[in-house]
């Protein structure tokens, strides 16, 4: 309780309470995340249980009863009669899972390499940072596409569906580690020269312990900020890849897949199949991004 009260009183909590944008963004993000996590319990229909699907329900407009079955769907249905609202909940689940995992993967890789480069310096540093520079000269979506394509070449077709999602996570993660590595390296170099690190070295603390126990906690602040914004970017990257048809398999549609499917029907009048997933993606990416922006400002002492 004491700890909770102290957290409530902290500068960051105060800054949150005084930022309407952050509060609204947090509420929206929370609703989407909760909806995605609890999709199997919340969703009115299971869009992936083919037994429960009725093709006659196809193309039901939102909020109107179907002309054949009389069933009403909040956001309408797609060509196969799947409830759009339910597919969004399940789609957001995939999108969030891929985005989150990709960020975690990029974080682990970026922090590890960044710490190594910042601590060791010299040629290790040069090597890591030159690789990073080369990678930065290509758009990250292109790198994700490349890695994705190469990985698929190595995986036997029978396994593709199973591992597609993991390939996707690794592709996005690998295209995204550079920014974390750069920030961590810079911060690690600053921390390394500080006297508390020297004090630990004088005592003879093992270098690995100095890096993990002393330096790492002090470089995490800025990293978490860009990780939040990175989450929004990873979700968008996943959507882009899925939209291009190289992402998750259609049996596990993410928000991007839903949008790809939906755009086929845009000109034939079934606008809802595209619109609702697109709005869901927009709200998710925007709210996470706004939270990241707020966090950056709140943690930046110069703006306070």
């Amino acid at each position: 309780m004491n700890r909770l009260a102290r957290m409530w009183d902290s500068d960051i909590a105060w800054s949150f309470r005084n930022s309407p944008v952050a509060i609204v963004a947090a509420i929206i993000a929370l609703i989407i995340v909760l909806g995605a996590v609890f999709a199997p319990w919340i969703a009115p229909h299971d869009p992936f249980n083919s037994a429960s699907l009725n093709l006659m329900d196809g193309f039901t407009p939102p909020g109107e009863p179907n002309q054949f079955t009389g069933n009403t769907y909040l956001m309408g249905t797609d060509n196969q009669g799947r409830d759009i609202f339910s597919t969004i909940l399940y789609g957001a689940r995939i999108s969030l899972f891929v985005g989150f995992s990709a960020v975690v993967f990029a974080l682990v890789l970026g922090i590890g390499l960044g710490l190594l480069a910042g601590w060791r310096g010299g040629w290790v540093d040069s090597l890591i940072m030159r690789i990073a520079d080369v990678q930065l000269s290509f758009p990250s979506i292109l790198i994700a596409l490349l890695i994705f394509g190469v990985a698929r070449g190595f995986i036997p077709p029978s396994m593709r569906e199973e591992v597609a999602i993991w390939v996707l996570i690794v592709s996005i993660g690998l295209s995204d580690w550079v920014q974390y590595a750069r920030v961590v390296r810079g911060a690690a170099m600053v921390e390394k020269s500080k006297e508390y690190v020297q004090a630990a070295r004088v005592i003879g603390v093992h270098p690995a312990r100095i890096v993990l126990r002393h330096i790492l906690p002090n470089v995490m602040g800025p990293v978490l900020v860009i990780a939040t914004i990175g989450l929004a970017l990873a979700i968008i990257a996943e959507a882009t890849l899925s939209f291009l048809g190289v992402g998750v398999p259609p049996t596990q549609p993410s928000l991007g897949t839903l949008i790809r499917i939906g755009q086929q029907y845009l000109f034939s009048g079934e606008w809802w199949i595209l619109l609702f997933p697109a709005i869901a993606l927009l709200l998710l990416a925007l709210s996470v991004n706004l939270l990241g922006d707020w966090l950056r400002d709140a943690l930046n002492p110069r703006l306070r």
Partner: protein, 331 residues
């Protein structure tokens, strides 16, 4: 010589400040070196406070880092209680490390902001495996008490303390492995005078109680006067004079020492004017040839511009100056 705890001989350290390899190749530059410490030798006896005093670029902090092993010597040897520090490894080095500690200049940077004070102070205890469990907590409490804080402060974070209190925490950490020798690198220069007095007094008390030996690094002559039993004066990485505390201040031998003393503000308002000194410290990358001080020295002779001066024995130590050498020969 059995009572010399630290013995430094011909200690030299240069830094490679060349541009990166590719730039060097393209611009056809030579490798560049900065000599931060040049052929410095001195001894510190058990229980004394040896001070190194000098201005910026004098190499005093580099010597501190060399002594505690944060930097490796380019040439020369450092011997701690008969053990050569270079080449010693493993458990022997670990045992040596326990016996010396360091106090840093900036108490705002020398404590990890994310650690609790208790963990900070206990780090040497854990590293050397000195105590376990509840004994650690008790020892930390004792140490906090010793430096004038309370055992309850172990639960707090560094930002909850003022500069002076943080320096006390840093001292407690330095004491926690029960060292014999502490390198103090400008321990009070980041503190206000009234707090500086507290810390200096505390350091003196601790020395008396525990028989500590200090290597005290400072740019402030008045502080050095107060703390040190022996003093070495550094100029551009060279030790220009070594003498007993009292002797150095009553009869400074080297012209640079005299200049430094003249530059100390006169608080007693005795009407003594500070003698402004001409010139500034030269760039250490390109130190003047011969005696490094000759461009600013009122006694400089032709010889000073060519040869490096030798050490001339003085009353309680030595000074490196041709003018003194000539004087000694004349008398």
């Amino acid at each position: 010589m059995a009572d010399a705890l630290l013995k430094i001989e011909h200690l030299t350290r240069y830094f490679d400040i060349s541009k990166p390899f590719l730039n060097r190749m393209l611009e056809r530059d030579e490798k560049q070196f900065l000599t931060a410490v040049a052929d410095v030798s001195f001894e510190i006896k058990r229980g004394e406070t040896f001070a190194l005093v000098g201005e910026s670029g004098s190499g005093k902090s580099t010597i501190a880092k060399l002594v505690v092993g944060l930097l490796a010597a380019s040439e020369g040897t450092i011997e701690f209680d008969g053990h050569k520090m270079t080449g010693t490894t493993g458990t022997e080095m670990r045992d040596l490390r326990r016996r010396f500690q360091m106090i840093f200049q900036d108490p705002f940077a020398s404590l990890n902001p994310r650690w609790r004070v208790g963990d900070i102070i206990a780090e040497p205890i854990h590293t050397f495996g000195l105590l376990k469990g509840a004994d650690v907590t008790n020892r930390v409490g004792e140490l906090l008490d010793t430096v004038g804080l309370s055992a309850k402060d172990a639960e707090k974070f560094p930002h909850e303390f003022s500069g002076g209190q943080r320096q006390r925490i840093a001292i407690a950490r330095a004491l926690s492995s029960k060292p014999e020798f502490i390198v103090c690198d400008e321990p009070t220069s980041a503190l206000d005078v009234s707090v500086q007095a507290q810390i200096l007094n505390l350091m003196k008390d601790l020395q008396d109680e525990m028989g500590l030996t200090y290597l005290f690094i400072s740019h402030d002559l008045s502080v050095v006067r107060h703390m040190a039993s022996r003093i070495g004066v550094l100029y551009l990485g060279r030790l220009v004079e070594v003498a007993d505390g009292k002797t150095l201040f009553s009869s400074p031998q080297h012209p640079y020492t005299q200049m430094l003393l003249d530059a100390v503000p006169d608080l007693a308002l005795s009407g003594r004017r500070r003698k402004p000194v001409d010139g500034e410290i030269p760039n250490p990358i390109n130190p003047p040839p011969g005696c490094a001080f000759h461009p600013r020295c009122p006694l400089a002779m032709d010889r000073c511009k060519v040869d490096a001066p030798h050490q001339v024995a003085t009353e309680t130590g030595y000074a490196a100056c041709f003018a003194l050498e000539a004087e000694a020969k004349a008398s």
